[in-house]
């Protein structure tokens, strides 16, 4: 079966005055129909740009310089802007981090929803409005009729994100990209939103790329996990496996920095140091300066990707423990 989305060796670079920023530097992954892939990494690791690349929304000076993005059987790189526009919002949809900012503050919800319907479907405005009403009801917005004519500032953050989700799912897309959609929300709302998206996407077989810097958010949500560092995926595998037996020192570091319920008050074990500048990456493993398992070879050579069993992939010379397939 072909994957819903297959990204191979994607490279998205920014050509700035200071030099070339390799924001996405050889990323590969695939997501099957109905599957949820969690993309995790610290801020600045290139998660958002991976997502934007898939939608063809990278603006100059950024550019997809290499790799392939396949949506079903269709290759997206090199598409004309017009063809790409026909895919955005219809076959690949995206929701963003800050629900306060994603809806236009000066346009009614109705305006913003109906235009999304009409961008990809030929129908009367009344029919489109009917569809918006149903979509709002589906994401659990009470009295959708009234809410349609409201403006974004009349909604809470959680409700706004629900509206954004309703818009994203209007055309039952093949792929939904969720770029930290719950980061700006409080914990109980977070859980509701996660559950909502999961339920809705499952109903339509929509594949989900769930981007987050917070492992805790995706641990209960994603089928598989991809950990990103400095523009690359450094570890990938089934969520339960990766969480139980992290093989990459960075993944382990992320796990250790998670707050643990029964150890409240204990200082979190943050990974020491910070993400490297993508402008001038060291020749070896980009994680080397922060890595406890670092050895000499790490500093001189970039670790290539290795496959372990059918499901796990890794970029590390000295993985922790046995990498189970």
């Amino acid at each position: 079966m072909t994957a819903a989305l297959q990204v191979s060796n994607l490279e998205t670079h920014f050509f700035t005055r200071a030099g070339v920023v390799k924001a996405v530097d050889g990323v590969s992954f695939s997501i099957a129909r109905g599957e949820v892939l969690g993309l995790v990494g610290e801020s600045g690791s290139g998660k958002t740009l991976t997502a934007l690349s898939i939608l063809g929304l990278v603006d100059p000076p950024g550019k997809i310089v290499a790799g392939s993005i396949r949506l079903g059987d269709e290759e997206l790189t090199g598409l004309s802007e017009r063809s790409w526009r026909a895919i955005r919002g219809k076959r690949i949809a995206m929701i963003f981090q800050d629900p306060m900012m994603t809806l236009n503050p000066v346009l009614r919800i109705e305006t913003q929803m109906i235009e999304a319907v009409l961008a990809h479907a030929v129908m009367s405005k009344d029919n489109a409005r009917q569809r918006c009403r149903e979509a709002l009801a589906r994401v659990g917005i009470p009295s959708p009729d009234e809410r349609l004519t409201a403006y974004p500032h009349q909604f809470s953050g959680g409700m706004r994100q629900r509206v954004a989700i309703a818009i994203a799912l209007l055309h039952s897309p093949d792929v939904l990209i969720a770029d930290e959609p719950t980061t700006a929300l409080d914990v109980t709302i977070q859980a509701q939103i996660v559950a909502e998206v999961q339920k809705l996407a499952a109903a339509t077989g929509t594949a989900i790329l769930w981007v987050t810097h917070d492992l805790a958010v995706v641990s209960g949500l994603s089928d598989r996990l991809a950990v990103m560092y400095a523009g690359r995926i450094v570890e990938e595998g089934p969520t339960t496996e990766v969480l139980a037996r992290p093989a990459h020192p960075y993944t382990q570091g992320l796990l250790r920095s998670l707050p643990v319920n029964n150890q409240r008050g204990r200082r979190l074990n943050q990974i020491p140091g910070s993400t490297p500048s993508l402008l001038r990456l060291p020749p070896g493993c980009p994680f080397a300066p922060r890595c406890e398992a670092r050895q000499e070879d790490c500093v001189s050579t970039r670790p290539p990707e290795s496959q372990h069993g059918t499901e796990r992939r890794l970029r590390c010379f000295h993985p922790l423990g046995e990498v189970s397939p």
Partner: protein, 325 residues
């Protein structure tokens, strides 16, 4: 809304009375119009007669009281110089100034907004740089110099347009308007252009800054992710947001164009109120000065009211309340 409008008008009535009193007293303090009005060789008898005719023989408080009583009845007095009703004198000249300001305003909107948006979208390209350089030039050219240069070029050199004067006019509600008679348009064009250049530059800068800011907002990104066309994104999402500051500034500018059109009017021998005001000040023609200021303040009030109402229509987050925004 109605309560808001009424309250605003009430406030302005108060402002108008206070201002009228201030102007009345300050013009009185500046000097005696009799010295200017009468020929130097007028004898004592003529002098006394003129003083009595203008009511200048009574004590100041009596003159002021009479003025206030008349004001309450809508009578702003007769011009010392022309002997005719001050308000009719101004109304005869006002359409000339108004239509000059309106044409300049329309030019500022229809030229400034598209150019500014274009420059904002192409800020790194030669189009953006060219437009912005042009707007800086438009900003810094003095009005009178620009007017004189235009006269030299289009009237003297090329003989395309008349050098000055009002030209043909059509009548509407007993008032004269150049706009109503196409034969009068050539006369209107140059002074309106002169007046408009600065406003166009201003609107360009506002639209430019607004567009650049809006294009970076998440709501634009989300709109793109929905698959909307650039025309829809710019024409609806961006435009509605950038109109908010533009409307505010243009409201102020419209008022100042009406009040301070005198430079342009002088250069083009345009018979507007600006010229009348300057002459009246020179002759200490108190009734005309006071009437002029009352009419101008009244117009400012109406313009501000219109701006506030427009503002609340454009930005749903703003509610009409006293004290503007």
């Amino acid at each position: 809304m109605l309560a808001f409008v009424l309250r605003r008008l009430g406030q302005s009535a108060f402002v108008i009375v206070a201002m009228a009193a201030l102007v009345f007293l300050s013009v009185y303090a500046i000097g005696n119009p009799i010295d200017i009005l009468l020929a130097p060789d007028a004898d004592q008898q003529e002098r006394a007669a003129a003083i009595a005719r203008l009511g200048l023989d009574r004590p100041l408080w009596q003159q002021f009281l009479t003025f206030l009583v008349n004001l309450a009845q809508g009578d702003l007095g007769k011009s010392f110089v022309f002997g005719s009703d001050a308000v009719s004198l101004i109304l005869a000249r006002l359409p000339a100034t108004l239509e000059l300001a309106l044409v300049a305003l329309v030019l500022a909107i229809v030229a400034g907004i598209p150019l500014g948006i274009l420059a904002g979208l192409r800020s790194d390209g030669w189009i953006g740089r060219g437009v912005m350089t042009g707007s800086i030039v438009g900003f810094s050219l003095p009005n009178f110099w620009l007017g004189i240069m235009m006269i030299l070029l289009f009237a003297v050199e090329l003989k395309w347009l008349p050098a000055g004067g009002r030209g043909a006019t059509g009548t509407f509600l007993g008032l004269q308007f150049s706009l109503l008679d196409p034969a009068g348009w050539p006369n209107l064009l140059m002074p309106a252009l002169t007046l408009a250049i600065y406003k166009v530059s201003l609107v360009i800068r506002l639209a430019y800054a607004g567009t650049r800011e809006a294009m970076l907002q998440d709501y634009v990104r989300f709109a793109r992710a929905k698959g909307l066309s650039p025309a829809r994104i710019i024409g609806v999402h961006v435009l509605k947001n950038i109109l908010i500051p533009i409307v505010t500034v243009l409201g102020l500018e419209l008022g100042s164009m009406i009040a301070f059109a005198v430079v342009t009017e002088t250069v083009f021998a345009w018979p507007g109120v600006g010229k009348l005001l300057i002459d009246s000040i020179a002759r200490l023609d108190r009734p005309v000065i006071v009437a002029y200021l009352i009419i101008v303040v009244g117009m400012f009030t109406l313009i501000n009211l219109a701006v506030d109402i427009l503002y609340s229509i454009l930005d749903p987050r703003v509610r009409l309340a006293d004290g503007g925004h």
